[in-house]
Symmetry: D2
Subunit: 341 residues, 4 copies
């Protein structure tokens, strides 16, 4: 490697194909600024290990145990393009070494927040339910099918989790002027108050809100955060948007209340994917059913590539990254999100 060669970027393409996350333009610029080496097989002793000592950055999430990191003496950044941090990386060594550990969560935030808002309006107004009725000649005109209709305007809305998605959703909800309650155990009250929301315990949030967005990531602490007791705290007639990960809620408890006509729910994430074909959820009128689609748009994927390109460029210029999420040393080991398959 001579001085004049652009920095080497190892593109480990097992999970997200290169042409899904990079537009042709982004890929062209990436190749102009960096020496891009695509590696499809990162098994030990292979091509990945060969290039590791020269790598300036790794894009993807290959196994990076201590030994490998020790050999990657020029490494400045690991850019995770899958949305979750898994345990196959020795993060402590990265932090000690000053290797940036970056995640692509912000790339999905806009897509997920828009989708969550769409689901909430659907639940508030019965859009998909009445569309189904129309198709079998059972449509109900005017107010006949709107007995349970809600306006978002000036409503009581609760956000469980206030990370990337919560912040975008907060922005999208602002013109509805809701009373917004937020629970996020990683944030002090002041941060929530500063955006005009009310920091609230989960129990109080569930009791006070007409529309609840479940946005929490999975950790040991948040597993079944929405357990049966809490599901039962929700107000009769309220609406639930489940859009982060299935593990944060007791699904049977949610479905029981939907079956009883006490809740309406939109569910985008499921304990098993695909769901069993005979599962009772498939026939419930009180559900909006969605197949893990909230963030899965082409525009989200290519935004990942754009972020990777921007941040690699900054880091190569001796500047800190500005677009991807900087992994927090304290949190990176806590996430228990399973990959979407």
């Amino acid at each position: 490697v001579t001085n004049t060669q652009p920095p080497i970027v190892l593109l480990v393409t097992s999970s997200q194909p290169v042409d899904v996350i990079f537009t042709p333009d982004a890929l062209r610029v990436l190749r102009a600024r960096f020496t891009v080496i695509e590696i499809s097989n990162d098994s030990p002793g292979g091509e990945f290990d060969k290039h590791l000592p020269d790598a300036f950055a790794i894009v993807g999430q290959p196994d990076l145990p201590t030994g490998r990191l020790r050999r990657a003496t020029k490494l400045k950044a690991v850019l995770n393009v899958e949305g979750n941090f898994f345990s196959n990386v020795d993060y402590d060594t990265c932090f000690q070494r000053g290797v940036h550990v970056l995640g692509c969560g912000p790339a999905y935030a806009e897509a997920v927040a828009e989708y969550a808002l769409g689901l909430a309006i659907d639940l508030a107004r019965g859009i998909s339910r009445e569309d189904r009725a129309f198709r079998i000649g059972m449509e109900r005109y005017l107010d006949a099918g709107s007995a349970d209709a809600l306006h978002l305007r000036a409503s009581d809305i609760g956000l469980i989790g206030f990370g990337n998605v919560g912040r975008v959703l907060h922005r999208l909800l602002a013109p509805f002027a809701p009373t917004l309650r937020v629970y996020d155990p990683w944030l002090p009250a002041s941060v929530i108050e500063d955006v005009g929301a009310i920091p609230t315990s989960p129990d109080e949030l569930l009791q006070a809100s007409t529309i609840v967005f479940m946005l929490a990531t999975v950790t040991a602490e948040s597993t079944e955060l929405l357990d049966r007791r809490r599901v039962n705290l929700m107000r009769s007639g309220s609406r639930l948007v489940l859009i982060s990960r299935a593990a944060v809620a007791d699904y049977e408890a949610v479905l029981d209340r939907v079956a009883a006509g006490e809740l309406l729910a939109a569910i985008d994430v499921w304990p098993e994917e695909p769901m069993p074909s005979a599962h009772r959820a498939r026939t419930m009128e009180g559900l909006v059913l969605s197949a893990h689609r909230a963030g899965a748009t082409s525009a989200s994927y290519t935004k990942i590539g754009d972020m990777v390109l921007d941040d690699l460029t900054l880091i190569a210029r001796g500047l800190p990254p500005a677009r991807m999420q900087v992994a927090a040393r304290e949190l990176v080991g806590r996430y228990r999100n399973r990959p979407a398959t």
Copy 2:
């Protein structure tokens, strides 16, 4: 009628039942401030004509030809609670006499705008379509069902009509930072530019927009504003939200393009209501079907009553109304909206 009796308000309840548009609280205050006379039959010579000479205001839309208005010497306001101005009133005489002619359009604006946004996100992301697929075990996980997904963020959005609904929708769309094109023949360019939108001809709007909201009211000029030629101007892959009145569009032209897979459309208003049971629209996957539901919420209806109460109170205090829409002398005779039935 003595001096001490509160002003007489004739409540002509044929179309909107009193308890639908007034909450119990609003009705109680109305009765405390005014002498409320409910009249269910306003046929000539009946109770309505008996009270007319003493009436301070009429709520509802009974026939008010010149002769009746001549007898209503104390009349200060006619408050239309049906959302449309029909031709059974001698509006010219009202204006000459200084009788306020007020409409309840603003009461529906929030409900319609929220619904329109919900329909647009549904079209952008396939929410109801994929819900239907899920129910028959055909759900597509992650990006499999999102090949045609769009983000509203930074998209090209067109509004045809910029009245009550358009203005609320503009507010709801603001955080998506769209490039917003607006066509409204009743407004100068400056008014549209002042809200950060681009005044645009219908043809250009249809060609440039990814998502089009049809919000125009029906007049002689706007009938089939969206005719076949203009429908065919819409970009392939674009989305259409039809939410004002059916007469403004050529439905068969719209359905032809949806059938061809070139457009996705959400339709809330129909040439006939109810629609024929065998109509082809009922089976099109590219449609979101809705039965004239956009404004038909309980919260919209009771907002009418609140507006009536507020404006009657202001007028009785010698002040101009502040909440209902003041009918424009130039426009009141132009509307051709048919009543929703």
Copy 3:
């Protein structure tokens, strides 16, 4: 007058010179669309009376008693370009005849609101006071001169009057996330609540607010609305922006509290203009002194001309005006604003 001649507009230029309110472009378009007749002397029997029977619209505020209006059989609109409605017009006849009576208040709103915000920040932070100190070598660095500094962020702000200026100011203040209290006797509580503000009595507003904007227009009722009793309700250390008309406040009461170091005030309107040269206000450190400058910008003046052009064009097309303020029949006779001289 033949059919083909464009409608006649009488431009009565006594108060606002034509080239102040019209840009060259606007004037050119006006002349292209209308037959513009400039009249500098509108005394009885003169040129004005000669053209009156043919006039489509009058721009300016000549005397328009019943007799003149009777002769103006083609008149469709009177466009007041001075900001105040005076009693030299028979408004009742205008309304009966369906002649639009339009005011240019909205043209000034942006300029006044920006200026009011600038005055408020000056009062909050001592900008002009410390600038004066700097000029005499008495500047105080860092916090030395900021013992009384306030942030607007999350502060208690009161608006007395919620008309054109109040609405723009509300928009400018929104990102400061204040607790906003509003008093406006012409509006129902719902209208104020709908913009996220708190409808409040004058006394309560003055007691609760840290920054008070006096925006009320002068009527019989609002004269000395801010009388000595109410001035004395203001919190010690609070700030007052007086920017509508002098008659709404007891100036001596305000100055007494400023002199006592209890209030800071910015005053743009004065009981006499020019103020007596030896008036005590001129030397008070607790004042920001301003010579009726809030709305007096070139951009405001030419906005009047743009509004006149737009609304004349709409009216000539058979549409209602959309930019100027439509005078309310109930209010037009109440204003007691003296002209600014």
Copy 4:
């Protein structure tokens, strides 16, 4: 130190007195949650060194060379409460050790942004200049003193630097709907575009903007970023708000153009503080003079204490800080801001 003792926080109070940055409430909570040791003299071998091995966090900015950090084996965070990062800390060792290095810049952002906006409106409308004129009986009523008045509404505004202050200012400027150009060499274009602004080179920004805010921090690269050549690029009649640090501009070049009547400028930071008593700036009518006051409010100072308390609490709970600015490894050594004295 037993297990049960709360974590030890060393409060090194040389620069910012404890009771200035902590409200009594915050200090009470701090003492309840932590073992707070106030240290006024941190000279080598003194009390500071004695407690260092037990310290969980250091609040203040004592010298922290490698040797001291080596002894601070329990150290988790250094919280700088002075707004600038100086070179008396071995930052590299902090990062390697995983010691959080936090700055209080965000505490000042609101105060500085509000002040900057106030200065800009003053420059746009001549508030302090006309206040001075009024005090010597030379006030000019109405438009007489407003020949050079500008509206912020829809104006061309440039921000040089888009850090904490720039982001708040962006929010405050949003309702003015400016065309906003931003130069920040540490950010990719996408970040600037994402907030609706236009990424622009310094030269182009200066040529295109009517109002320029100089918000850049001092680094080797930004010293005299606004040099004479660039000052001369500014449009005649434009306005300059200098509010970050003096070193980023060629003051004589700015003053020359102000003296020539070509620019109006508000200056809050000076090459020397205090400025020489006979300096020509003190008499220029085209300046708003301000003595390094932008951030120096009591509310800013106590916000530092609140942030310190919140972030110490989070870190003690094993969570990342959420309010103070996390120092970037790449940038912390670059700042050349001199302390305000």
